[in-house]
């Protein structure tokens, strides 16, 4: 079976193009940028593309009359770079810069943007009174754009756009999207007024509100003939509100779009926006002295800055990720997803797919020899579904074929008959009596409760009570390398699975259960991975890869495309946190009640751990004598959820830290002071009554926050009046490790390799966090050798010992402790061996960068290099030392509790737009106390990266679902922060000291960076608007309303 290929025709004249287009089943194409997007969304492919790129008269930018003729084939990139357009048509140039991203602009054309009828250039072109040169079967014509849009004729070919400069005009342009740049348009406006003798002679206002752009004729009429200073801006605003075209969709409401259009035009043309000046946060000057932190930056830390070993190969593209691996005759695998959120499987027929030439194997649940269930905590997820599907991304079958095209074709031939079931799309409804069951065991996956004192009675005598429901979204990990890898059966019968992951040994154990194969017969390689953030903690593609490799006996690669990763991949559990907090007149916390409902999605994965961790952090770093906290995790048909950086603690910090600011306002107390009065005392028992580790630095972090210069920076209305600036802070308190209840094995080994490298073996994974550089730092530091002497070996069950998972901010401690504990014995063995060879007392020798030196010698000259030492020793006498231990645990066993914590204080300065309600981040200052930094660059990377991931979580990211389906199917609508969203400046500070008797060394900071970003931003928004948004990502419409209220 073959499908007809796409034909491309290349006319050289407009007449030829029109005649070809008239033959049907064809589509005119120039840059083609919208095509792929359309096809990805399921638009049919035409049989023929008519490439108009060779038609000369559609090219070039030329002066024409008193304006410019811009050929339809001109790319937006060429327009952007064209000096004449920049100088003479600044409104159009501004619109071009706000359209798509630079690389897309190099392909997309002006004609395509106009012909698409929804292009982001249309408001600017309408306000510029652009005309189109049109060719149609009826002949050539020059038509005003506005008229052409009104007629929307389909058989036309746009030849050129003619735009006349208006050098004296006052103009404005604004595109408002879902994030700061490269975003779908929520609203776009362009306005232009020309005056003569002080009176407006021409006014052209155009806007789009998510649909087609249009001129605003009635609003224009209010301007023409008036003097600029006589404009009644309120009247104009009202007129635009009424006239602006706007749609209502899942992203933004019609009301919001109209407001933005009116605000943007009024402000852009010189009008004033209503002002309010709330200031709930009274703090305006830094106070006290900061603790002895250092600013973590390359210039500040000097010699402690090291280039990570993997960065240059990554930049050059020479580092092979597991999804990059290709071999001759390798099969390509693909997974058939449910595509519907909830259904009973009636039958699965693979015969047609198997019969397709080029298909090597199709696997279904019938191919699973072991237990068709996996999950880190609860094994409730089938590797391949058999009785029902519980979310759109559920895996039903997988195919391996000679190439991607054949695999895709085969996938479509797998016939699955479903009997749809009612969709459970809301966790609260999932728990109601009579709800459809996602699992036969019931929709309540688990619940937790914790009581201390008598919260209910205490509320009655409290001076101040704050109660709110905080809602946090499902967040997508958005690792740039989607899930994937390859698998093959080795000549010795070992199944090799190379797929990005966060704990190879556990992946192996889970695969062993599914496949019914002994673990010793399975090798799992998990490094390097292109980002994980918790999203590769659970199994992803490994079961399908393994089954296909076993069934075919051949190497198979499988790499999810983004759209599949979106529907199939794990997300952050959405939460609804109902919190009631009481304090006395002095702001001392008396009682807190917390009730959490978390969305598990279809399968538990690590959801129970996430919820329990959230509740463990229910009071943050504060002491609350009376507590009643509870949480329920509900199964729904909303994707799958589980581990994500922060693991519930950052969601809870949002609620707790906003409550503190609100109580401070209620009690009339400074926000730093209220925290000082409630902060836990070092050395006391933790929130659950557990023992906690020494080196607590909360007071120091609070002091760092108090002394931060951010408080002295400008606040309130911006210079131009279109923004209001606020500052907020929040404390950060994050546990390390898996906790008291789950097994948390750790370990590693050092050995001298035959080539003289000191190999450091860890079962941890390099996912980008800087494991390799941290290993080099820790081992070199412990041994006294150089970083370059150390070769980290990671993430391979065949080569590395059990180190536990690369999650829960635990890796740093494991890396440090293995090095610290293994080093003395290993160094002793190295020196003893060297001493024998050199005929010297081992005690007179020492390890140094490169090899063995004389102890106490200043010369630094090597007596023997590590390579010489290794070469001189028989292979079985090469020194080695292994360490294994349980990650340090606390003593509390009634629930899961952490022993080790890392500390921080986060400050955010934000600018809230009075035009759009959007929040722009000016500064993010992160103070951290996590012990000595193993590697400064890795530490900085974790804090900065976590910070901006937290910014996304707070302001733009939402993997929202309706009826069990994701609203955003790819990165066109799922808004990962872009470079335009990142704060203007970031600063990371580290307080490195530990208590004298501290046995735990450096703390992990993988989650510290994200921990308090949300409440810092939200408290800053409250500083600017007078109200706390309780739902994230913060809805700009809510912000506009809050600004309105504060102005009233």
């Amino acid at each position: 079976m073959t499908e007809p290929g796409l034909q491309v025709l290349r006319p050289t004249s407009v007449a030829e193009a029109l005649s070809l287009a008239g033959e049907g089943a064809s589509q005119l194409v120039a840059g083609g940028t919208a095509l792929q997007l359309g096809w990805a969304k399921g638009l049919p492919k035409p049989r023929r593309l008519i490439d108009i790129g060779r038609i000369a008269c559609l090219k070039g930018i030329q002066p024409a009359g008193d304006g410019f003729r811009i050929g339809a084939l001109t790319t937006l990139g060429a327009m952007e770079r064209d000096r004449a357009i920049g100088e003479n048509l600044p409104l159009l140039a501004a619109a071009v810069r706000a359209t798509a991203g630079p690389a897309v602009r190099n392909l997309g054309t002006l004609g395509g943007n106009v012909a698409g009828l929804m292009g982001c250039l249309l408001p600017a072109l309408l306000a510029s009174d652009a005309k189109l040169e049109i060719a149609s079967p009826a002949g050539h014509a020059v038509v005003p754009l506005a008229q052409w849009l009104a007629d929307t004729p389909s058989a036309d070919l746009i030849e050129a756009v003619i735009v006349r400069p208006q050098p004296t005009a006052r103009w404005t342009h604004r595109k408002v999207g879902l994030r700061a740049a490269f975003t779908p348009s929520v609203a776009g406006v362009a306005g232009l007024v020309e005056t003569a003798y002080d009176r407006i002679t021409v006014a052209r206002l155009a806007a789009s509100g998510g649909g087609q752009a249009a001129r605003l004729g009635r609003a224009e009429a209010l301007l023409v003939g008036r003097r600029l200073q006589e404009i009644d801006w309120a009247e104009l605003h009202a007129a635009i509100l009424e006239e602006a075209p706007a749609i209502d969709d899942v992203w933004r409401s019609e009301r919001y779009r109209r407001s933005v259009v009116a605000n943007a035009l009024v402000f852009g043309l010189g009008g004033k926006l209503s002002q309010g000046a709330p200031s709930p946060c009274r703090r305006t000057v830094p106070s006290g002295n900061p603790p002895a932190e250092i600013l973590v930056s390359r210039s500040e830390i000097g010699a402690r800055w090291h280039q990570r070993p993997d960065v240059a190969p990554k930049i050059a593209g020479r580092l092979e990720y597991l999804t990059d691996h290709r071999e001759p005759a390798m099969l390509v695998g693909r997974i058939r997803r449910a595509g519907i959120p909830h259904a009973r499987i009636v039958c699965i027929d693979t015969s047609a797919a198997e019969a397709l030439p080029g298909v090597a194997a199709v696997v279904t649940h019938r191919d699973i020899a072991g237990s068709n269930a996996f999950g880190i905590v609860v094994q409730d997820q089938p590797a391949l579904c058999f009785d029902k599907v519980r979310y759109v991304g559920d895996a039903v079958a997988a195919v391996a074929a000679v190439d991607m095209k054949t695999a895709e074709r085969a996938l479509a031939l797998v016939s699955v008959e479903y009997e749809p079931l009612p969709i459970v799309s809301d966790p609260q409804q999932a728990l109601a009596a009579g709800a459809e069951l996602v699992h036969a065991s019931g929709n309540l996956q688990c619940s937790f409760e914790f009581t201390r004192g008598d919260a209910a009675a205490t509320f009655a005598k409290a001076a101040h009570i704050v109660e709110a429901v905080y809602e946090t979204p499902s967040q997508m990990h958005g690792f740039m390398e989607t899930e994937g890898g390859y698998a093959f059966v080795g000549t010795d019968g070992t199944l090799n699975v190379f797929a990005g992951g966060q704990h190879g040994r556990r992946d192996r154990m889970q695969l062993s259960r599914i496949l019914g194969m002994p673990q010793e017969q399975i090798r799992v390689v998990t490094s390097p991975t292109g980002g994980a953030f918790g999203g590769k903690d659970e199994l992803t593609v490994q079961p399908a890869l393994a089954l296909l490799a076993l069934k075919t006996g051949r190497a198979v690669r499988l790499h999810l495309d983004r759209a599949e990763s979106v529907i199939a991949g794990t997300k952050r559990n959405a939460m609804r946190i109902h919190m009631r907090t009481a304090c006395d007149p002095e702001g001392r916390l008396l009682a807190q009640q917390v009730d959490v409902i978390a969305d598990a999605g279809a399968y538990a994965s690590l959801g129970p751990g996430v919820l329990e961790t959230a509740l463990e952090h229910a009071c943050g770093p504060y002491v609350v004598p009376n507590v009643l906290s509870s949480g329920r995790l509900a199964y729904t048909n909303n994707g799958v959820c589980g581990a994500f950086r922060g693991f519930g603690a950052n969601q809870m910090a949002f609620a707790v830290e906003c409550q503190l600011d609100r109580l401070a306002e209620a009690a009339g107390i400074d926000i730093i002071e209220i925290r000082r009065r409630n902060l836990r005392e070092p050395g006391t028992r933790g929130h659950l009554g557990q023992q906690v580790a020494p080196s607590e630095r909360l007071a120091e972090m609070l002091q760092a926050a108090a002394a931060d210069p951010i408080w002295a920076k400008p606040r309130g209305p911006s210079f131009d009046g279109c923004e209001t600036i606020g500052v907020g802070m929040a404390m950060n308190y994050q546990g390390n490790g898996l906790g008291t209840l789950p097994p948390d094995p750790a370990g590693g080994a050092l050995r001298l390799a035959a080539d003289g490298m000191i190999e450091a073996l860890y079962g941890l994974d390099e996912m980008g966090q800087g494991l390799l550089t941290s290993v080099k730092a820790a081992v070199a530091g412990a041994l006294g050798c150089g970083r370059d002497d150390v070769r980290p070996v990671t993430g391979d069950t065949a080569a590395t010992p059990e180190s536990g998972s690369s999650t829960a901010s635990r890796g740093t401690h494991v890396v440090w402790r293995v090095a610290a504990v293994a080093a003395p014995a290993f160094a002793r063995d190295l020196l003893a061996a060297a001493g024998q060879l050199l005929c010297r007392e081992a005690g007179t020798l020492a390890l140094a960068p490169g090899g063995i030196v004389e102890r106490h010698s200043n010369s630094g000259s090597l007596l023997m290099s590590f390579a010489e030492l290794a070469e001189a020793l028989p292979p079985d006498r090469l020194p080695a030392a292994a360490v294994s231990f349980e990650f340090p645990k606390s003593d509390y066993l009634e629930g899961n509790a952490r022993l080790i914590f890392a500390f921080g204080a986060t400050l955010a300065r934000v600018a809230v737009s009075r035009i759009t309600g959007q929040v722009r981040m000016l500064e993010l200052h992160q103070h951290t106390a996590a012990g000595p930094m193993l590697d400064a660059a890795a530490y900085l990377g974790q804090i900065e990266g976590g910070g901006v991931q937290g910014l996304g979580f707070t302001l733009t990211e939402d993997a929202a679902m309706r009826d069990g389906r994701y609203l955003a199917g790819n990165l066109d609508f799922y808004m990962l922060p872009s470079i335009a969203d990142t704060p203007e400046s970031l600063a990371t500070f580290a307080l490195e000291d530990l208590d004298e008797d501290d046995p735990f060394g450096p703390r992990g900071v993988g989650e510290l960076g994200i921990g308090a970003v949300t409440p810092a931003i939200v408290n800053a928004i409250a500083d600017a608007t007078g109200a706390w948004p309780e739902r994230i990502p913060v809805d700009p419409e809510w912000v506009l309303d809050a600004l309105q209220r504060s102005a009233a």
């Binding site: 792929q36 991203g101 190099n106 740049a181 800055w305 930049i315 390398e481 980002g531 901006v948 066109d972």
Partner: protein, 162 residues
Amino acid sequence: MSAEIAITFNLNGCRRALAVPAELRLIDLLRDHFGMTAAKMACGIGRCGACSVLMDDRAVNGCLVMSWQLDGATIITPEGFDDLPEADVLREALASENAFQCGYCAPGITVALTALMLENPAPDESQIRAALEGNICRCTGYHSIIRGALAAVEALARGIPT
């Protein structure tokens, strides 16, 4: 039979003449046909920049360019950057700054920045930010990349070592 079209283009300095399906994407051509995997695949719809390459010295998304658009073009992938002195300086500056973590976006970002520096060897921070609006990095928060790019601008100002 699936219709194929004949194309000739220059890839990293080598002339390539092929017969391929018209809608085959450049990124698939590179990764699956030529085994050149420096350009990465991450969204497939031109929204992340991981697959960027230079096409006639301009950065373009490898997932948006189809083979029918390649005829006559000059393509430089990250594998071909060894021959570009500007790219060399840039890559070294980015590496010294530890600009990337997982690194999956790094080749694409290097392409975007190289395209910028070929056009404007002394961009300021706002121009660097504008040039990277189409590239998503999930690990770093972007500032390490900005610092690396600014260091490259300084290094370029000092001159390209010969």
